[in-house]
């Protein structure tokens, strides 16, 4: 399990850049990023090196920031890799709210961050199926 920060981004020129400027100035490194977008606004979701600094600096610059828990799992970097991971959720009837993937420093795996309906249950079934769940410490090594 890892903590992700989400940032409200108005659909206006240069807003994502502005958020990036803020994080750069605060010396925060971005591990993973995804944007959920609608026609009116976007939700920038980030996994960063330092949540506290990131949140503080973004809020100081007028952004709305929220922390939420996501499940981060390493998946084998080969066909059917992600699919086998998702099957575990599917079999347990756990709804997936959103998912995004990023690369790992390990050559044979990719990493996915997932927001699920029931985080605890998801972790339990992943563990039962021997999926590789990444913790905060693991993410710091990426």
């Amino acid at each position: 399990m890892a903590t992700q920060i989400s940032v409200f981004i108005e659909n206006k020129e240069g807003r994502i850049k502005k958020a990036m400027d803020t994080l750069a100035n605060a010396g925060v490194n971005i591990r993973a990023l995804s944007v959920g977008d609608t026609t009116k606004y976007g939700i920038l979701r980030l996994i960063v090196s330092d949540n506290e600094t990131a949140t503080k600096s973004l809020e100081n610059d007028g952004f709305i920031v929220k922390e939420s828990e996501v499940v981060v799992v390493a998946v084998p970097d080969k066909p059917n890799g992600l699919n086998s991971t998702l099957s575990i959720l599917d079999d347990a009837d756990i709804n997936l709210e959103y998912i995004y993937a990023f690369v790992s420093s390990q050559p044979n795996e990719a990493i996915v961050a997932m927001k699920v309906e029931d985080t605890e249950k998801a972790i339990k079934v992943f563990e039962e199926n021997n999926a590789k769940i990444l913790k905060k410490e693991d993410l710091e090594k990426i």
């Binding site: 409200f8 959920g36 609608t38 009116k40 939700i43 007028g62 709305i64 939420s68």
Partner: protein
């Protein structure tokens, strides 16, 4: 605590007698010295002597904002220029500014009216009044200032803006009364919380707020975020400035200083006079001003009058909270909508900010309304599904308040124009 019991607690009979005497005097002054009024009276064959009762005021034609604009800048003086000592003007955002000129007598009356209001808010001679209304052509700053001087209280002319300094002043001087627009009061309250200043560190007791519309929900927020009791004040540049009316501690209608201003409520559609209790447009006539007396000015403000004696003991007639402006009223898809209704709807959704902008367009033949609302931490979610739920909730609240289906857009905090002057609430881009 009543500033001038003799004037504020008159019996109906005493008051009507004084009002009639003063009305007759004002009509004569205007007719004999101001070309505009003479022409208006002569056109319908009306003479000052025809005003024999208070009811006869209905014979006098209305004065409108455009009449004042045509007389710009000093076409409506009843006295020689040498008797004028101060001038104020409206912002002129909707056209040429309207100007009001004051004689020393007029300034004294203004100060008197404000002092009555300060007393209603509990102020005393040793109170510090942090006057955060803008100083300048706008009547807010100087109006309160004249009243503070009249009372002999300590007025701090800090003017609007510079929020940090406002907070410092509240702490360092331990200001007792804050005077500013309600949106700025709300902003100051938010800023206090943000800066981590506790209510114990400040000593504010009362806030006198006006010059723009605000709702009772907004009042609750200001009162809790600054730890004060708030008093709604009313006035307008064309008639004098703030102080024409103000709430007492009962917070049940604003006492009109009706020995100085004669109020009427009319049907804005046909100009007919309405009874107390009926909602309509407020029309004001000055009874004591000498520099620029004004007869039957159509304020465009919608309200109703309460004629009964107030629990506070004052008998001055009260006006209810302004529910809208007859020209601020938006007609969207044929439905009458007031910005205050949107505000009310927003305050019903928990976590929704009352900072909004109504954007009306007509891309084809139908009106479309977009209400932009500032998002807040409480409303924000990392899931789009949840955000859509919030938008729907706001939409439903606006619908139940106005009957209109609007498009709701969440935007970043503090991105909407606001706060130190008058808040911009409506952008109407329909070409009608």
């Amino acid at each position: 605590m009543i500033w001038d019991e003799k004037s504020e607690c008159m019996t109906k009979k005493e008051k009507e007698k004084i009002q009639l005497e003063r009305l007759q005097k004002t009509v004569k002054l205007a007719y004999e010295n101001i070309e505009f009024y003479k022409k208006r009276f002569d056109e319908i064959g009306l003479k000052p002597e025809d005003i024999k009762t208070l009811k006869d005021i209905e014979k006098i034609p209305f004065t409108t904002k455009s009449d004042l604009r045509e007389a710009y800048p000093l076409g409506l003086l009843a006295v020689p220029r040498e008797d004028i000592v101060e001038i104020h003007a409206s912002s002129g955002t909707t056209g040429k500014p309207t100007v009001t000129a004051y004689t020393q007598n007029d300034l004294d009356i203004w100060g008197e009216c404000i002092a009555r209001g300060l007393k209603m808010a509990g102020a005393k001679k040793d109170y510090i009044i942090q006057n955060a209304y803008g100083y300048g052509l706008f009547t807010g700053g100087f109006g309160i200032h004249h009243g503070g001087n009249k009372m002999g209280a300590i007025t701090v002319p800090i003017s609007a803006g510079n929020t940090q300094r406002q907070l410092d002043t509240m702490i360092d001087f331990q200001s007792d009364v804050l005077t500013c627009t309600p949106s700025y009061a709300m902003y100051l309250g938010e800023s206090r919380e943000k800066a981590g200043i506790s209510l114990e560190e400040i000593n504010l007791k009362a806030g006198i707020h006006g010059a723009e519309m605000w709702t009772s929900e907004m009042r609750k927020r200001i009162e809790s975020s600054l730890g004060i009791k708030t008093f709604n004040i009313y006035g307008l540049t064309e008639v004098m400035g703030p102080g024409v009316a103000q709430e007492c501690s009962e917070q049940n209608g604003m006492h009109i200083q009706d020995d100085h201003f004669y109020p009427e409520i009319i049907n804005p559609e046909n100009g007919e006079t309405l009874e107390p209790g009926q909602n309509g447009e407020l029309v004001l006539t000055s009874l004591t001003k000498t520099g620029m007396p004004i007869l039957r000015f159509r304020t465009k403000d919608l309200t109703s009058l309460i004629a009964d004696k107030c629990k506070c003991g004052r008998t001055t007639v009260r006006m209810t909270r302004i529910t809208g402006r007859s020209d601020d009223m938006l007609k969207i898809k044929g439905v009458m909508v007031f910005p205050s209704q949107i505000e009310k709807a927003l305050l019903k959704v928990s976590g929704a900010s009352p900072n909004y902008l109504i954007h009306v367009t007509r891309p084809d033949i139908l009106d479309e309304v977009e209400v932009k609302v500032e998002a807040s931490k409480e409303l924000f979610s990392d899931e789009i599904k949840e955000m859509e739920k919030v938008e729907k909730q706001i939409q439903a609240s606006i619908r139940s308040e106005t009957g209109l289906r609007v498009d709701v857009t969440l935007c970043e905090p503090e991105s909407l124009p606001r706060s130190e002057g008058k808040a911009v609430r409506v952008i109407d881009e329909r070409k009608l």
